[in-house]
């Protein structure tokens, strides 16, 4: 469980920017939560605060002892792969930094299998498509066995088909129990994606970023590709869109 109480974040630059104000949010155990909002409304900032990567200017962040610190892993929009490392070496990076290569190196192969990356271990990033690069980015996040996975518009630069496929796969992977991930926090500006994946959707309004609404997605947890064309799906989508105006 992760809880934010009255969190504010101000960036001090040439001009001060209030990126977030008065954020109260609780992420339950086993939840898939999405954060949507227009560009620049503070989604990335909120995700980084949830993951403990930056500290709030005021307010507090509490995590239950069960969700221990250090079990957060990030996936960014730009997969940020190191060009001089093969896919496998990129995924090994977190292990090298944590000094756990010898214990966990064997896990790389199964993570590659789970993400459909089998056979690409020795490819360099420049030899991989955008979708494959992002799979490597996800594999790198999973290898350190996080309990909370934090994704910041991971599929924003991919084409529609690849994005939908990766959405399906992410959901499968999360539910399958093949990973240690319990919670997923997913930032996107794509409403379809948020509805399809989530238990709840947080709608942020911009400048300063405040929570406008938290919407529960009461679709069955078994999400098949067809669900995208259902009446319920459409009405949820319309509802979010109207709130984002």
């Amino acid at each position: 469980m992760i809880r934010l109480d009255d969190v504010t974040k101000t960036y001090h630059g040439v001009r001060s920017t209030v990126a977030l104000r008065g954020i109260d949010l609780e992420i339950a155990e086993g939840e898939f939560l999405s954060i949507v909002g227009s560009s620049g409304c503070g989604k990335s900032t909120l995700l980084k605060i949830i993951g403990g990567l930056i500290a709030p200017t005021s307010g507090s962040r509490t995590i239950s002892p069960h969700t221990k610190e250090g079990s957060f892993a990030f996936v960014f929009q730009d997969p940020i792969l190191m060009r001089w490392r093969t896919a496998r070496e990129n995924v090994r990076l977190p292990l090298e930094i944590q000094g756990s290569v010898s214990q966990k190196e064997a896990g790389i192969t199964s993570v590659f299998e789970n993400l459909g990356l089998g056979g690409f271990e020795n490819s360099y990033p420049s030899e991989l498509s955008g979708g494959m690069q992002q799979r490597v980015g996800i594999a790198r996040a999973l290898i350190s066995e996080p309990t909370t996975l934090l994704l910041d518009e991971p599929f924003a630069s991919l084409d529609e088909i690849t994005r939908e496929r990766l959405n399906d796969e992410l959901l499968q992977l999360w539910k399958s129990g093949a990973t240690t991930v319990q919670n997923v926090v997913f930032v996107t500006h794509n409403i379809d994606e948020a509805v399809f994946l989530s238990d709840r959707v947080v709608i942020l309004s911009g400048r300063p970023g405040e929570i406008q609404e938290v919407l529960t997605i009461d679709l069955p947890r078994e999400r098949t590709a067809e669900i995208r064309y259902s009446e319920e799906f459409n009405s949820l989508r319309r509802k979010i869109r109207s709130m984002m105006l």
Binding site: G51, D78, I80, M82, R83, W84, P94, E96, I97
Partner: protein, 254 residues
């Protein structure tokens, strides 16, 4: 095959055309050989005196390469210290440019004065004028890692030292190669400049002593050996970069 031939032809033909023009000018205007010897007489001088040339070349290149290695070591140490201890960067980096602005030929006498006029003073001159290029390029390579990559490493709780080792140093590899290529040229220039001021061996000494006797063909011979040696080392460095470090390059290989 045809297109590679087309690419290779101009750089092969250009010097041949140049040599032909050179010969023609010397003949047509009957230029005295102490002013401009013909290519033939330069070649003759090289072929008759090549043991001497090689002897002097070995001295100059030993000085230049010792200085080159020294400037790489010192340059790496400075660059890393600039990253790990910002105070060293703040206090020293602005003055680095002074080592570049000061003319080599004006710096060398001081080094010869302090270090004696032997091998070490020449290597030191070469190193002093070259360190700048290593530090400037490495620092650029260390600095120009994306904010995203820094953030990723911070999210993995990497230490300052790990960020340097896993991200900044590998990222700087292509910059490092640019730096050492520039440093190679100035190392050779530094060694020759020091020889000009005080020495009784080396290609710099050879050029200067032949100059006093108007032995221009011999001067050309020494200059050509100097250039050929430098180009050879430069080519070797480029080859090492291409063969062993291709994945560090910014170019996206297709």
């Amino acid at each position: 095959m045809n297109s590679t031939l087309k690419q290779l032809l101009p750089p092969i033909l250009a010097p041949l055309v140049g040599l032909a023009l050179w010969t023609l000018i010397v003949r047509v205007f009957s230029i005295p050989s102490y002013l401009l010897p013909s290519p033939q007489s330069v070649l003759t001088s090289i072929s008759t005196s090549y043991p001497t040339l090689l002897y002097h070349a070995s001295i100059t290149f030993a000085e230049a390469l010792a200085g080159f290695v020294l400037c790489i070591i010192v340059g790496i140490l400075f660059s890393i210290s600039f990253q790990l201890w910002p105070i060293t960067r703040q206090s020293l980096y602005p003055y680095l440019v002074a080592t570049r602005i000061a003319p080599i030929i004006a710096v060398a006498p001081f080094l010869l004065l302090w270090l004696g006029n032997g091998f070490f003073a020449k290597a030191a001159t070469a190193a002093v004028v070259s360190t700048f290029f290593i530090v400037i390029n490495l620092t650029k390579g260390f600095d120009e890692v994306s904010n995203g990559a820094r953030e990723l490493l911070r999210s993995l709780s990497a230490t300052r030292f790990q960020i340097l080792m896993k991200l900044q140093i590998p990222n700087s590899v292509p910059y490092f190669f640019s730096g050492i290529k520039a440093a190679l040229a100035t190392s050779i220039a530094g060694a020759v400049a020091a020889e000009f001021i005080s020495s009784n061996s080396g290609l710099g000494h050879l050029i200067l002593s032949n100059y006093y006797y108007f032995r221009t063909a011999e001067m050309f011979g020494a200059l050509l050996v100097l250039i050929a040696g430098g180009v050879l080392i430069f080519g070797a460095i480029s080859m090492i970069e291409r063969i062993f470090f291709s994945h560090y390059s910014m170019r996206r290989e297709s």
